[in-house]
């Protein structure tokens, strides 16, 4: 079973908590997903709004493990400082490390990511790096101390699915023992199933559920697809071939011509 720094979740679905139509729908979607890990962030709090306090009460009531992120950080300094703040607020060494390199694609700044990962791992953080499928970068992240890798499927929020199945398959083959999570870019449950069929350990997504017409139903759909994809991987898919091979026996067929 997949272990995230010694934690073994029953569900292979990690769900984000942003962009839902209402707090009630967020809660219902999380329950429908059966996710045991949800991602959260840190944002400015005002005494007037106190929005963060209400949100935190809602999340605590769900009784799940939280994975704080460093979303929106574009520098190593910002990401490391945000991680320090998250560790204090959420009382967890877990951090979903994002160091964003480019605004249009939100693709990781892999150089900054490796540097921040090295700093945080050295400080005892358990880092979940949002990365690309680049093998060299993945090697550096593992060397830095990361025991989970989270390559993107496609740009965050795009819903494009798995843009580079070859790269993801190669990463899986290269790191058979490191938990791999496809994080970001998925839009459909079939895409999540495809990632799981590649042998990925889990899926992290947010927008595909939160922005669905019925987020609760979509959360359930993703949960089923992730489970189906994992079962298919464990079952061992048949080998493909170019030409047809009759499935019904040829021997014994009546001559009727």
């Amino acid at each position: 079973m997949t272990m995230f720094y010694g934690v073994e979740p029953k569900s292979r679905f990690l769900l984000g908590t942003a962009q839902y139509p209402s707090p009630a729908i967020l809660s219902d979607a999380v329950r429908a997903s059966q996710a045991e890990i949800v991602t959260v962030s840190l944002r400015r709090e005002s005494a007037a709004g106190r929005a963060g306090q209400a949100f935190w009460t809602l999340i605590r009531d769900l009784g799940l493990r939280v994975l704080p992120n460093t979303a929106g950080c574009h520098s190593v300094k910002e990401a490391v400082t945000t991680a320090h703040m998250a560790r204090e607020v959420f009382d967890t060494p877990w951090i979903k490390l994002e160091v964003i390199g480019e605004a249009d694609t939100l693709q990781p700044d892999v150089f900054g990511l490796v540097e921040a990962a090295r700093i945080l791992c050295g400080e005892g953080f358990e880092v979940f790096p949002y990365c690309t499928e680049d093998l060299g970068v993945a090697e550096r992240l593992v060397e830095a101390g990361c025991r989970v890798l989270m390559p993107w499927g496609a740009p965050i929020g795009s819903g494009l699915g798995l843009n580079n199945p070859f790269g993801l398959r190669t990463l899986r083959a290269h790191f058979p023992d490191i938990p791999l999570v496809v994080d970001a870019g998925l839009g459909l449950p079939s895409q999540a199933a495809a990632a799981m069929e590649l042998g990925y350990d889990a899926i992290l997504l947010n927008t595909a559920v939160a922005k669905a017409g019925d987020p609760v139903a979509m959360a359930l759909a993703f949960a089923k697809a992730i489970e189906a994809g994992r079962l298919a991987f464990e079952a061992g898919p048949m080998e493909t071939r170019d030409m047809a091979a009759p499935s019904t026996p040829v021997l014994g067929q009546a001559v009727l011509a």
Binding site: T17, T39, L42, A47, M85, L205
Partner: protein
């Protein structure tokens, strides 16, 4: 004195970061703090003095992906 609080110029009477949180009615809130870009752990807020023009960031749990 005037400080930059979460990006907005704000007048505060507080001398320390802890007093600033109390003045803002966030003394018991679940928040993390930074002063001039550096994280200030909760245990150090009471000994972290504020100066004119300081930049304070106060963050709290929020929705995230």
């Amino acid at each position: 004195m005037q400080i930059m609080l979460n990006g907005e110029a704000t007048d505060l009477a507080a001398d320390t970061l802890e007093q600033a949180l109390q003045e803002l009615d966030l003394g018991k809130a679940v928040v993390a703090t930074a002063l001039n870009g550096d994280f200030v752990p909760a245990r150090l807020r009471s000994v972290t003095a504020l100066r004119q023009g300081d930049r304070i960031e106060i963050v709290a749990p929020m929705q995230g992906g």
